[in-house]
Protein backbone atom coordinates (compact mmCIF):
# COMPACT_ATOMS: atom_id res chain seq x y z
CA UNK A 1 0.00 0.00 0.00
CA UNK A 2 1.20 3.50 -0.85
CA UNK A 3 0.25 5.75 2.03
CA UNK A 4 -0.58 9.30 0.94
CA UNK A 5 -2.81 10.38 3.82
CA UNK A 6 -0.16 11.89 6.04
CA UNK A 7 -2.18 15.03 6.76
CA UNK A 8 -4.61 12.76 8.63
CA UNK A 9 -1.88 10.86 10.45
CA UNK A 10 1.57 9.65 9.53
CA UNK A 11 1.17 5.89 9.34
CA UNK A 12 4.88 5.20 8.96
CA UNK A 13 6.80 6.17 12.10
CA UNK A 14 10.56 6.08 12.68
CA UNK A 15 11.56 2.73 14.19
CA UNK A 16 12.98 4.49 17.24
CA UNK A 17 9.50 5.81 18.05
CA UNK A 18 8.05 2.31 18.20
CA UNK A 19 11.03 1.03 20.19
CA UNK A 20 10.76 3.91 22.66
CA UNK A 21 7.05 3.25 23.29
CA UNK A 22 7.66 -0.47 23.83
CA UNK A 23 10.50 0.24 26.24
CA UNK A 24 8.39 2.86 28.06
CA UNK A 25 5.54 0.39 28.48
CA UNK A 26 7.97 -1.94 30.21
CA UNK A 27 9.52 0.61 32.54
CA UNK A 28 7.52 3.77 33.22
CA UNK A 29 5.44 4.44 36.32
CA UNK A 30 3.07 7.36 36.68
CA UNK A 31 4.80 10.71 36.38
CA UNK A 32 4.64 13.09 39.33
CA UNK A 33 3.15 10.39 41.57
CA UNK A 34 5.78 9.70 44.21
CA UNK A 35 9.47 9.02 43.83
CA UNK A 36 9.75 5.34 43.11
CA UNK A 37 12.16 4.59 40.28
CA UNK A 38 9.39 4.06 37.71
CA UNK A 39 7.58 7.26 38.66
CA UNK A 40 10.77 9.29 38.65
CA UNK A 41 11.74 7.87 35.26
CA UNK A 42 8.36 8.98 33.90
CA UNK A 43 8.73 12.46 35.40
CA UNK A 44 12.23 12.82 33.98
CA UNK A 45 11.35 11.60 30.51
CA UNK A 46 8.34 13.93 30.34
CA UNK A 47 10.55 16.82 31.31
CA UNK A 48 13.01 15.88 28.57
CA UNK A 49 10.10 15.80 26.12
CA UNK A 50 9.05 19.30 27.21
CA UNK A 51 12.60 20.55 26.65
CA UNK A 52 12.70 19.02 23.16
CA UNK A 53 9.32 20.45 22.18
CA UNK A 54 10.21 23.88 23.52
CA UNK A 55 13.36 23.81 21.40
CA UNK A 56 11.63 22.51 18.26
CA UNK A 57 8.72 24.98 18.40
CA UNK A 58 10.53 27.98 19.88
CA UNK A 59 8.66 28.04 23.18
CA UNK A 60 10.77 30.09 25.63
CA UNK A 61 9.87 27.98 28.68
CA UNK A 62 9.82 24.17 28.88
CA UNK A 63 7.32 24.35 31.75
CA UNK A 64 4.94 26.18 29.42
CA UNK A 65 4.76 23.13 27.14
CA UNK A 66 1.50 21.43 28.12
CA UNK A 67 0.60 17.93 27.02
CA UNK A 68 -2.82 16.90 25.76
CA UNK A 69 -4.34 14.06 23.75
CA UNK A 70 -4.20 15.93 20.45
CA UNK A 71 -4.71 19.34 18.86
CA UNK A 72 -8.45 19.16 19.42
CA UNK A 73 -8.03 18.90 23.18
CA UNK A 74 -5.37 21.64 23.17
CA UNK A 75 -7.56 23.94 21.07
CA UNK A 76 -10.61 23.28 23.27
CA UNK A 77 -8.48 24.14 26.30
CA UNK A 78 -7.10 27.31 24.71
CA UNK A 79 -10.47 28.49 23.39
CA UNK A 80 -12.64 27.68 26.41
CA UNK A 81 -9.92 28.90 28.77
CA UNK A 82 -9.44 32.37 27.31
CA UNK A 83 -12.77 33.31 25.70
CA UNK A 84 -15.71 34.08 27.92
CA UNK A 85 -19.27 35.40 27.80
CA UNK A 86 -19.93 38.09 25.17
CA UNK A 87 -16.30 38.23 24.00
CA UNK A 88 -15.67 38.63 20.28
CA UNK A 89 -13.35 36.33 18.33
CA UNK A 90 -11.86 36.73 14.87
CA UNK A 91 -11.10 33.50 13.05
CA UNK A 92 -10.96 32.32 9.44
CA UNK A 93 -12.47 30.15 6.75
CA UNK A 94 -9.36 27.95 6.91
CA UNK A 95 -10.20 26.50 10.30
CA UNK A 96 -10.76 22.86 11.15
CA UNK A 97 -13.79 21.78 13.17
CA UNK A 98 -11.50 21.51 16.19
CA UNK A 99 -11.61 25.32 16.21
CA UNK A 100 -15.02 25.91 14.65
CA UNK A 101 -17.12 23.66 16.88
CA UNK A 102 -15.77 25.00 20.21
CA UNK A 103 -16.43 28.51 18.87
CA UNK A 104 -19.93 27.70 17.63
CA UNK A 105 -20.74 26.23 21.02
CA UNK A 106 -19.48 29.36 22.79
CA UNK A 107 -21.61 31.44 20.45
CA UNK A 108 -24.69 29.43 21.33
CA UNK A 109 -24.12 29.04 25.06
CA UNK A 110 -22.12 32.16 26.04
CA UNK A 111 -23.22 34.73 23.44
CA UNK A 112 -19.67 34.88 22.08
CA UNK A 113 -19.53 36.84 18.83
CA UNK A 114 -17.65 35.41 15.86
CA UNK A 115 -16.21 37.07 12.75
CA UNK A 116 -14.61 35.15 9.90
CA UNK A 117 -11.86 36.35 7.61
CA UNK A 118 -12.95 34.92 4.26
CA UNK A 119 -10.78 32.80 2.01
CA UNK A 120 -10.70 33.44 -1.73
CA UNK A 121 -11.10 30.78 -4.40
CA UNK A 122 -7.40 29.85 -4.06
CA UNK A 123 -7.81 29.40 -0.31
CA UNK A 124 -5.88 32.54 0.63
CA UNK A 125 -6.87 34.99 3.36
CA UNK A 126 -7.04 38.74 3.03
CA UNK A 127 -4.66 39.68 5.86
CA UNK A 128 -5.97 43.28 5.98
CA UNK A 129 -9.41 41.95 6.94
CA UNK A 130 -8.24 40.95 10.43
CA UNK A 131 -7.82 44.56 11.52
CA UNK A 132 -11.07 45.67 9.90
CA UNK A 133 -13.02 43.12 11.96
CA UNK A 134 -11.71 44.22 15.38
CA UNK A 135 -14.38 45.48 17.79
CA UNK A 136 -14.21 46.86 21.36
CA UNK A 137 -14.98 43.41 22.81
CA UNK A 138 -12.56 41.45 20.58
CA UNK A 139 -10.58 39.09 22.77
CA UNK A 140 -8.65 36.82 20.44
CA UNK A 141 -7.60 35.93 16.92
CA UNK A 142 -7.52 32.22 16.13
CA UNK A 143 -5.83 31.17 12.91
CA UNK A 144 -4.63 28.03 11.19
CA UNK A 145 -0.94 27.97 10.27
CA UNK A 146 -1.74 25.86 7.21
CA UNK A 147 -5.02 24.63 5.78
CA UNK A 148 -5.45 20.87 6.08
CA UNK A 149 -7.30 20.98 2.76
CA UNK A 150 -5.23 23.21 0.48
CA UNK A 151 -1.83 23.10 2.18
CA UNK A 152 -1.56 26.90 1.90
CA UNK A 153 0.59 28.37 4.68
CA UNK A 154 -0.60 31.61 6.26
CA UNK A 155 1.82 34.50 6.88
CA UNK A 156 1.24 34.67 10.63
CA UNK A 157 3.70 37.46 11.40
CA UNK A 158 1.39 40.06 9.85
CA UNK A 159 -1.57 38.78 11.87
CA UNK A 160 0.40 38.70 15.11
CA UNK A 161 1.45 42.31 14.56
CA UNK A 162 -2.23 43.25 14.39
CA UNK A 163 -3.01 41.15 17.48
CA UNK A 164 -0.19 42.77 19.47
CA UNK A 165 -1.22 46.27 18.39
CA UNK A 166 -4.73 45.70 19.72
CA UNK A 167 -3.85 43.62 22.79
CA UNK A 168 -5.53 40.45 21.48
CA UNK A 169 -4.62 36.87 22.33
CA UNK A 170 -3.25 35.16 19.23
CA UNK A 171 -3.95 31.40 19.11
CA UNK A 172 -2.44 29.36 16.27
CA UNK A 173 -3.30 25.85 15.15
CA UNK A 174 -0.05 24.24 13.98
CA UNK A 175 -1.52 20.77 13.45
CA UNK A 176 -0.41 20.64 9.81
CA UNK A 177 2.93 22.40 10.15
CA UNK A 178 4.61 21.06 13.31
CA UNK A 179 7.35 18.70 12.23
CA UNK A 180 6.92 19.66 8.56
CA UNK A 181 8.43 23.16 8.54
CA UNK A 182 10.52 25.12 11.05
CA UNK A 183 8.29 26.83 13.65
CA UNK A 184 9.27 29.39 16.23
CA UNK A 185 6.33 30.65 18.28
CA UNK A 186 8.27 33.73 19.39
CA UNK A 187 9.10 34.70 15.80
CA UNK A 188 5.51 34.00 14.76
CA UNK A 189 4.33 36.21 17.61
CA UNK A 190 1.81 33.64 18.86
CA UNK A 191 0.54 33.58 22.43
CA UNK A 192 -0.62 29.96 22.22
CA UNK A 193 0.22 27.32 19.64
CA UNK A 194 -1.64 24.01 19.59
CA UNK A 195 -0.01 20.93 18.07
CA UNK A 196 -0.70 17.26 17.57
CA UNK A 197 1.96 14.58 17.91
CA UNK A 198 0.82 12.06 15.32
CA UNK A 199 0.95 13.97 12.03
CA UNK A 200 4.14 15.72 10.89
CA UNK A 201 5.83 15.15 14.23
CA UNK A 202 5.58 11.39 13.49
CA UNK A 203 4.77 10.44 17.08
CA UNK A 204 2.01 8.19 18.42
CA UNK A 205 -1.68 9.05 18.28
CA UNK A 206 -2.97 10.30 21.62
CA UNK A 207 -0.17 12.84 21.95
CA UNK A 208 -0.20 16.57 21.41
CA UNK A 209 -0.26 19.74 23.37
CA UNK A 210 0.17 23.45 23.48
CA UNK A 211 2.90 26.01 24.07
CA UNK A 212 1.80 29.01 26.09
CA UNK A 213 3.56 32.37 26.24
CA UNK A 214 4.41 33.59 29.73
CA UNK A 215 1.67 35.84 31.08
CA UNK A 216 -1.20 34.20 29.18
CA UNK A 217 -3.90 33.10 31.60
CA UNK A 218 -5.82 29.93 30.61
CA UNK A 219 -8.65 28.61 32.74
CA UNK A 220 -8.30 24.81 32.90
CA UNK A 221 -10.75 22.73 30.89
CA UNK A 222 -10.21 19.80 33.26
CA UNK A 223 -9.36 19.79 36.95
CA UNK A 224 -8.35 16.81 39.04
CA UNK A 225 -5.38 14.82 40.23
CA UNK A 226 -1.98 16.41 39.77
CA UNK A 227 0.29 14.62 42.24
CA UNK A 228 0.88 17.91 44.10
CA UNK A 229 -1.11 20.04 46.57
CA UNK A 230 -3.53 17.18 47.12
CA UNK A 231 -5.38 18.86 50.00
CA UNK A 232 -6.15 21.99 48.02
CA UNK A 233 -9.73 22.21 46.74
CA UNK A 234 -8.56 23.95 43.60
CA UNK A 235 -6.30 23.17 40.68
CA UNK A 236 -2.70 24.44 41.05
CA UNK A 237 -2.23 27.67 39.10
CA UNK A 238 1.28 26.98 37.83
CA UNK A 239 1.93 25.66 34.31
CA UNK A 240 2.12 22.91 33.17
CA UNK A 241 0.32 21.30 36.16
CA UNK A 242 -2.55 23.76 35.81
CA UNK A 243 -3.66 22.27 32.50
CA UNK A 244 -2.64 18.64 33.03
CA UNK A 245 -5.16 17.08 35.40
CA UNK A 246 -5.09 13.29 35.42
CA UNK A 247 -2.50 10.75 34.33
CA UNK A 248 -0.65 11.78 31.21
CA UNK A 249 -0.01 9.51 28.24
CA UNK A 250 3.61 9.05 29.27
CA UNK A 251 4.10 6.03 26.98
CA UNK A 252 2.95 8.01 23.98
CA UNK A 253 4.89 11.12 24.96
CA UNK A 254 8.08 9.08 25.13
CA UNK A 255 7.36 8.04 21.55
CA UNK A 256 6.80 11.68 20.61
CA UNK A 257 10.08 12.56 22.27
CA UNK A 258 11.86 9.91 20.19
CA UNK A 259 10.14 11.24 17.07
CA UNK A 260 11.49 14.71 17.79
CA UNK A 261 14.97 13.22 18.17
CA UNK A 262 14.50 11.71 14.71
CA UNK A 263 13.37 15.05 13.26
CA UNK A 264 16.26 16.95 14.85
CA UNK A 265 18.88 14.43 13.77
CA UNK A 266 17.48 14.31 10.22
CA UNK A 267 17.00 18.08 10.07
CA UNK A 268 13.64 19.81 9.82
CA UNK A 269 14.77 21.69 6.71
CA UNK A 270 15.81 18.43 5.04
CA UNK A 271 12.40 16.92 5.87
CA UNK A 272 10.59 20.02 4.62
CA UNK A 273 12.57 20.05 1.37
CA UNK A 274 11.86 16.38 0.64
CA UNK A 275 8.14 16.66 1.37
CA UNK A 276 7.91 19.82 -0.73
CA UNK A 277 9.76 18.14 -3.61
CA UNK A 278 7.37 15.16 -3.54
CA UNK A 279 4.36 17.45 -3.45
CA UNK A 280 5.62 19.56 -6.35
CA UNK A 281 6.47 16.47 -8.36
CA UNK A 282 2.93 15.14 -7.88
CA UNK A 283 1.40 18.55 -8.64
CA UNK A 284 3.38 18.89 -11.86
CA UNK A 285 2.46 15.36 -12.85
CA UNK A 286 -1.30 15.85 -12.52
CA UNK A 287 -2.01 19.56 -13.09
CA UNK A 288 -2.33 19.36 -16.86
CA UNK A 289 -4.36 16.16 -17.01
CA UNK A 290 -7.70 16.85 -18.66
CA UNK A 291 -10.56 16.93 -16.17
CA UNK A 292 -8.41 17.60 -13.09
CA UNK A 293 -9.24 20.49 -10.79
CA UNK A 294 -6.64 21.28 -8.11
CA UNK A 295 -7.32 23.44 -5.05
CA UNK A 296 -4.99 25.80 -3.24
CA UNK A 297 -2.29 28.24 -4.27
CA UNK A 298 0.86 26.63 -5.67
CA UNK A 299 2.50 30.00 -6.32
CA UNK A 300 3.02 30.53 -2.57
CA UNK A 301 6.66 30.48 -1.44
CA UNK A 302 5.87 27.99 1.34
CA UNK A 303 3.30 25.22 1.49
CA UNK A 304 2.84 21.98 3.36
CA UNK A 305 2.86 18.78 1.29
CA UNK A 306 -0.82 18.57 0.42
CA UNK A 307 -2.51 18.40 -3.01
CA UNK A 308 -6.31 18.31 -2.99
CA UNK A 309 -8.08 17.68 -6.27
CA UNK A 310 -11.16 16.42 -8.03
CA UNK A 311 -11.44 14.45 -11.25
CA UNK A 312 -14.19 15.41 -13.71
CA UNK A 313 -17.46 15.52 -11.77
CA UNK A 314 -16.73 12.33 -9.84
CA UNK A 315 -17.57 12.10 -6.16
CA UNK A 316 -14.32 12.34 -4.19
CA UNK A 317 -15.40 9.34 -2.14
CA UNK A 318 -15.62 7.21 -5.28
CA UNK A 319 -12.22 8.37 -6.55
CA UNK A 320 -10.56 7.70 -3.20
CA UNK A 321 -12.16 4.26 -3.07
CA UNK A 322 -10.88 3.38 -6.55
CA UNK A 323 -7.41 4.60 -5.57
CA UNK A 324 -7.51 2.37 -2.52
CA UNK A 325 -9.17 -0.68 -4.02
CA UNK A 326 -7.58 -0.83 -7.47
CA UNK A 327 -4.26 1.02 -7.01
CA UNK A 328 -3.60 0.40 -3.29
CA UNK A 329 -3.06 4.11 -2.73
CA UNK A 330 -4.41 5.60 0.52
CA UNK A 331 -5.89 9.10 0.27
CA UNK A 332 -8.60 11.02 2.10
CA UNK A 333 -11.88 11.98 0.41
CA UNK A 334 -14.79 14.09 1.64
CA UNK A 335 -14.96 17.25 3.71
CA UNK A 336 -11.80 16.95 5.84
CA UNK A 337 -13.53 18.56 8.85
CA UNK A 338 -13.10 21.94 7.15
CA UNK A 339 -16.62 22.99 6.11
CA UNK A 340 -15.94 26.69 5.56
CA UNK A 341 -12.89 25.95 3.42
CA UNK A 342 -14.98 23.74 1.15
CA UNK A 343 -17.60 26.47 0.82
CA UNK A 344 -14.89 28.95 -0.20
CA UNK A 345 -13.51 26.50 -2.78
CA UNK A 346 -16.97 25.55 -4.06
CA UNK A 347 -16.49 21.88 -3.18
CA UNK A 348 -19.23 21.52 -0.60
CA UNK A 349 -21.12 18.82 -2.45
CA UNK A 350 -18.40 16.43 -3.52
CA UNK A 351 -15.50 17.26 -1.21
CA UNK A 352 -12.01 16.65 -2.56
CA UNK A 353 -9.44 13.88 -2.77
CA UNK A 354 -6.44 14.83 -0.66
CA UNK A 355 -2.96 13.49 -1.37
CA UNK A 356 -0.53 14.30 1.46
CA UNK A 357 3.14 13.35 1.57
CA UNK A 358 5.62 12.55 4.31
CA UNK A 359 9.32 11.90 4.86
CA UNK A 360 8.69 8.19 4.32
CA UNK A 361 7.25 8.58 0.81
CA UNK A 362 9.36 8.08 -2.30
CA UNK A 363 9.52 9.32 -5.88
CA UNK A 364 8.15 5.93 -6.91
CA UNK A 365 5.08 6.53 -4.70
CA UNK A 366 4.51 9.83 -6.48
CA UNK A 367 4.96 8.30 -9.95
CA UNK A 368 2.43 5.58 -9.21
CA UNK A 369 -0.06 8.10 -7.81
CA UNK A 370 0.30 10.30 -10.90
CA UNK A 371 -0.22 7.29 -13.16
CA UNK A 372 -3.32 6.26 -11.19
CA UNK A 373 -4.85 9.73 -11.49
CA UNK A 374 -4.13 9.72 -15.24
CA UNK A 375 -5.88 6.38 -15.68
CA UNK A 376 -8.92 7.40 -13.61
CA UNK A 377 -9.24 10.67 -15.55
CA UNK A 378 -8.83 9.03 -18.99
Amino acid sequence: MIYLDNAATTLHKPDQVIEAVVEAMRSLGNSDRGLSSGSLKASRTLYEARLKISELLGCPRADHVIFSQNSTEALNTAINGTIFSKDHVITTDLEHNSVLRPLYRLKKEKEVELSFVPADSKGNLSLESFEELIKPNTKAIICNHASNLTGNIVDLSKISTIARRHGLIFIVDVSQTAGCIPINMEEIGADIICFTGHKGLMGPQGTGGMCVREGIDIKPLKVGGTGVKSYSNTQPVEYPTRLEAGTLNSHGIVGLSAAIDFIQSTGINIISQKETRLMNSFYKGVKDIKGIEIYGDFSLPKRVAIVALNIHDYDSAVVSDVLSDKYKIATRPGAHCAPRMHKALGTENRGAVRFSFSWFNSDEDVNRAVQAVKEIAS
Binding site: D32, R61, G227, V228, S230, E238, Y239
Partner: protein, 78 residues
Amino acid sequence: MIEKSLKLIITFPTTTAAIAMEKICLSNKLPGRLIPLPREIDSGCGMAWCSSPEKSKELEQIAKEEGIEISGIYQLFI
Protein backbone atom coordinates in the same frame (compact mmCIF):
# COMPACT_ATOMS: atom_id res chain seq x y z
CA MET B 1 14.92 2.72 62.98
CA ILE B 2 15.35 5.72 60.69
CA GLU B 3 18.09 8.08 61.90
CA LYS B 4 17.41 11.78 61.45
CA SER B 5 19.85 14.46 60.43
CA LEU B 6 19.68 18.12 59.48
CA LYS B 7 18.88 18.49 55.81
CA LEU B 8 18.26 21.29 53.36
CA ILE B 9 14.90 20.97 51.63
CA ILE B 10 14.00 23.04 48.58
CA THR B 11 10.40 22.99 47.37
CA PHE B 12 8.92 23.98 44.03
CA PRO B 13 5.52 25.03 42.67
CA THR B 14 5.48 22.12 40.19
CA THR B 15 7.13 18.75 39.80
CA THR B 16 8.38 20.00 36.44
CA ALA B 17 10.44 22.60 38.30
CA ALA B 18 11.70 19.90 40.70
CA ILE B 19 12.83 17.72 37.80
CA ALA B 20 14.47 20.74 36.18
CA MET B 21 16.37 21.33 39.44
CA GLU B 22 17.55 17.73 39.49
CA LYS B 23 18.82 18.01 35.92
CA ILE B 24 20.71 21.24 36.64
CA CYS B 25 22.22 19.89 39.86
CA LEU B 26 23.35 16.67 38.19
CA SER B 27 24.93 18.50 35.28
CA ASN B 28 26.75 20.87 37.70
CA LYS B 29 27.75 18.03 40.06
CA LEU B 30 25.87 19.60 42.96
CA PRO B 31 24.96 17.13 45.71
CA GLY B 32 21.42 16.10 46.54
CA ARG B 33 18.47 14.07 45.37
CA LEU B 34 14.73 14.30 44.91
CA ILE B 35 12.64 13.15 47.87
CA PRO B 36 8.91 13.03 48.60
CA LEU B 37 7.73 16.32 50.09
CA PRO B 38 8.12 15.99 53.92
CA ARG B 39 4.91 16.37 55.92
CA GLU B 40 6.55 19.12 58.03
CA ILE B 41 6.35 21.32 54.94
CA ASP B 42 3.20 20.08 53.23
CA SER B 43 1.29 16.83 53.43
CA GLY B 44 -0.22 17.27 49.98
CA CYS B 45 2.22 15.14 47.92
CA GLY B 46 4.88 16.38 45.54
CA MET B 47 8.65 16.25 45.48
CA ALA B 48 11.48 18.34 46.88
CA TRP B 49 15.25 18.66 46.42
CA CYS B 50 17.16 17.41 49.45
CA SER B 51 20.76 18.44 50.02
CA SER B 52 23.23 19.61 52.65
CA PRO B 53 22.41 22.82 54.55
CA GLU B 54 25.76 24.39 53.61
CA LYS B 55 24.78 24.22 49.93
CA SER B 56 21.78 26.50 50.42
CA LYS B 57 23.15 29.68 48.82
CA GLU B 58 24.76 27.83 45.92
CA LEU B 59 21.57 25.95 45.11
CA GLU B 60 19.41 29.03 45.41
CA GLN B 61 21.76 30.90 43.10
CA ILE B 62 21.80 28.23 40.39
CA ALA B 63 18.01 27.91 40.48
CA LYS B 64 17.74 31.67 39.99
CA GLU B 65 20.23 31.63 37.11
CA GLU B 66 18.33 28.83 35.39
CA GLY B 67 14.90 30.40 35.88
CA ILE B 68 13.68 27.59 38.14
CA GLU B 69 11.03 28.90 40.51
CA ILE B 70 11.47 27.89 44.15
CA SER B 71 8.55 27.85 46.61
CA GLY B 72 10.59 27.58 49.81
CA ILE B 73 13.93 26.64 51.36
CA TYR B 74 13.89 24.79 54.70
CA GLN B 75 16.26 23.13 57.13
CA LEU B 76 14.68 20.13 58.80
CA PHE B 77 15.66 17.19 60.98
CA ILE B 78 14.27 14.36 58.91
